[in-house]
Every structure is written in C-alpha cells, then in structure tokens.
Amino acid sequence: MSVQDLEKIFQDKIDADIRIEPKDWMPDAYRKTLVRQMSQHAHSEIVGMLPEANWITRAPTLRRKATLIAKVQDEAGHGLYLYSATETLGTGRDELLEQLHTGKAKYSSIFNYPTLTWADMGAIGWLVDGAAIMNQVPLCRASYGPYARAMVRICKEESFHQRQGFEILLTLSRGSEGQRRMCQDAINRWWWPSVMMFGPNDDASPNSAQSMQWKIKRFSNDELRQKFVDVSAEQVKILGMTLPDPDLAWNEDKQHYDFGVIDWDEFWNVIKGNGPCNKERLEARVKAHEDGAWVREAALAYADKKRDTVKKEIA
C-alpha cells in the first residue's frame, strides 16, 4: 500500500472518531507531534511537583499537609501515566528524561514561577489546575487511544486539586486583613501566567490547525482561554477578591468577558529559560535523577541476583 493510501485510511479513521492505537500505521509527523505534546505534559506534571513540595513542611494544618502530599503524589502519578502512554509511541523513558534534563524538551512555563506564600498553594489549585483542567478535558477525546485513556484517569483526579485550592483561598478570604491581603497577592501573581497557559493566540499558533485536523486538539487556544476567563471572573466574586486586569468587563453582545492584552514578551522570555525559577527547577530535577541512580542500579542488581538464584535452584 502506498503512503498516500495509508494516510487516507488513517485520516478516515480520525474523521470517523476511531481511535488510533500504538501498532496502527500513523504518519511520522503525527507520532512526532504526540511525543512532543505528551512528553511535555508528562514533564510538566513532574516539574509541577516542585513548587508545591516547597510548602509541604510548612502547611498550616495536618489536614492541609495531608492534602498537599496527596496532590503532589497524584502529580507524580499523572507524570507516570503520560510517560507510559508516550512510550507506546516508541520513545523510551530514558530518552524522554534525557530530553527534559538537557533542556531539549519543554514543560509548562507556569512552573518557573516561585511559590512565595501559603496562599500560592490555593492560587495554584484554583487557577493553574483550573486552566489545566480546561485544557485537559477535551484531551480525553484525543485521537490517540493511550493518550486519551491517560487523560481520562488524570481528569478524574484533577478535580480535587482545583477544589482544595479554592478552599484554601476561601478560608484566607474569610480570615484576617493580613490573610485577605495574602490571598489577593497570590491571585495577582498567578492570574496572568495562568491565562498564558493556553499558549499563543490562535493566529500565532502555526501547529494548531494540523493538530485539530488530527483531533489531538479539539478547541483552539483562544477558545479555551476565553472559557477560563469567563469562569474565573465569576468564581473570584465568591472570594470577594479581584482579578488583576483593569480591562476585565462583561461584554453583553458577545456574552463573554473582555480582558486585557497579554504580555507575550514575558511568556516567550520564560519559555526561553529566563523565568524566575527555570534554572532552579531543572537543577532540582537533574539532582533528583542523579541522586537516585544508585537506587535504580541496586534494585536492578538485586533483581538479577534473585533471578540467578532461582535458575541455580532449578538446575
């Protein structure tokens, strides 16, 4: 069969909403796009543990501490679901980690911002996880089977992350003057980076059309961003706080919120590695990997030894 025939069969399947599975024929560019997007997502989950781990030892109550540990543990799990799904495309775990550690692969730039106060745990849960959920729910229907299945699992677990975050902010918003200030300050710092999480505007996002045709993506960056702004602009009222955007206003004609211009220079700057914590995050990941090397080697040596013992006993 010619490549054109195979491509047609492939696209017909996608158009008919039939999932693509690991052993099915797929265009190289589809495979490459998936490996890039899925590994980037996996890396984001793994690096995303760092800003929150920063507050585990300083959580204000045992309940908050247990919750935060569970959330960080979920993120490790989400990273693993996604790494495994990516590996079905033929790229090994070692290679994926190597790409992260050398800076060749990216992760979500939101995790290059520092977590300065306890309120940041609330703002991350509400806004960062909220934006992530907005992005991730449509991915549960992505055309690649293992990716879609991993996303279903992730979305089920993610909802608690957002709710616990909002609860943290709600508690602070009903607290002392100082706590309310801390709450507002965290919202101020996390709002714009969260809005940027949806990626460049549609007219500056050249790969989007192809990803839509392949049904890896179901909604455009700007559509999802608008939805996020609309939802958040209402939710913030319950906190009695404000979003740091003087242009934010309900537009009766559009039935959507208008919002201010995004500082894309900041966005690209952080992606290029000049965010407040890029260096620190990557160093922490590399160090964890290197410090764990002896554990991985010892476990392998132990497994080999056990296998040899069994062989000898049989002989």
């Binding site: 569970a70 679901y81 590996e87 090994g92 070692d94 677990e157 476990a299």
Partner: protein, 94 residues
C-alpha cells in the same frame, strides 16, 4: 539504556467478580516492585482489589494491518446471532 528497568503491563481487577483489565504500564526492576508500583500509580483511590503484572516483552499481539483478513472468518456468519432466526411474536420466553 541497558540500565533501564524493564517495562511491565498492569492489569487491575476493580472489584471481586470482575475481570482484570489493562490499566497501563510502568517500569520496575522485578515483579514484586512492579506490583507495589502499580498499587501506588493505579490504585491510589481504591480502584483495585487485585493486580496482575506481566513483563511487556511477554505480550504477543495480533497485527492491526491484517485485521481485515484476520477477522474475516467471522464476518459472514450472522447466523451465530440469536436475532438471525425469524420466529413468531407469540413465542414467549425465548
């Protein structure tokens, strides 16, 4: 590369009476570790009562490219389905 722990496929029984179902995969040095990791990765919210692990290299799969011919023998045998048989409506309990 040779230092990488082997890959395992994970199957989970969500409750007694149901089949084990494929949940995903993970790396582990041996079967015992694969089961413990599977517990931490796939059953953090009581999603399982039993776990099977199989090293991925032991899984053999049919070839999707040959699906058309491979499943062809069943394709023209509608008489294997109960609705194929034309029976009067008065006939009850069948």
């Amino acid at each position: 590369m040779s230092n990488q722990w082997p890959l395992w496929e994970i199957f989970i029984r969500s409750k007694q009476g149901l089949d084990h179902k494929h949940a995903g995969s993970l790396h582990a040095a041996d079967a015992e570790m694969a089961i413990e990791n599977a517990r931490d990765v796939y059953t953090r919210r009581m999603e399982g009562v039993s776990i099977w692990v199989v090293e991925s290299k032991h899984i053999h799969a049919s070839n999707p490219d040959e699906a058309a011919s491979f499943y062809d023998p069943a394709n023209d045998k509608v008489y294997r389905h109960p609705t194929f048989y034309d029976l009067p409506d008065e006939l009850k309990h069948m």
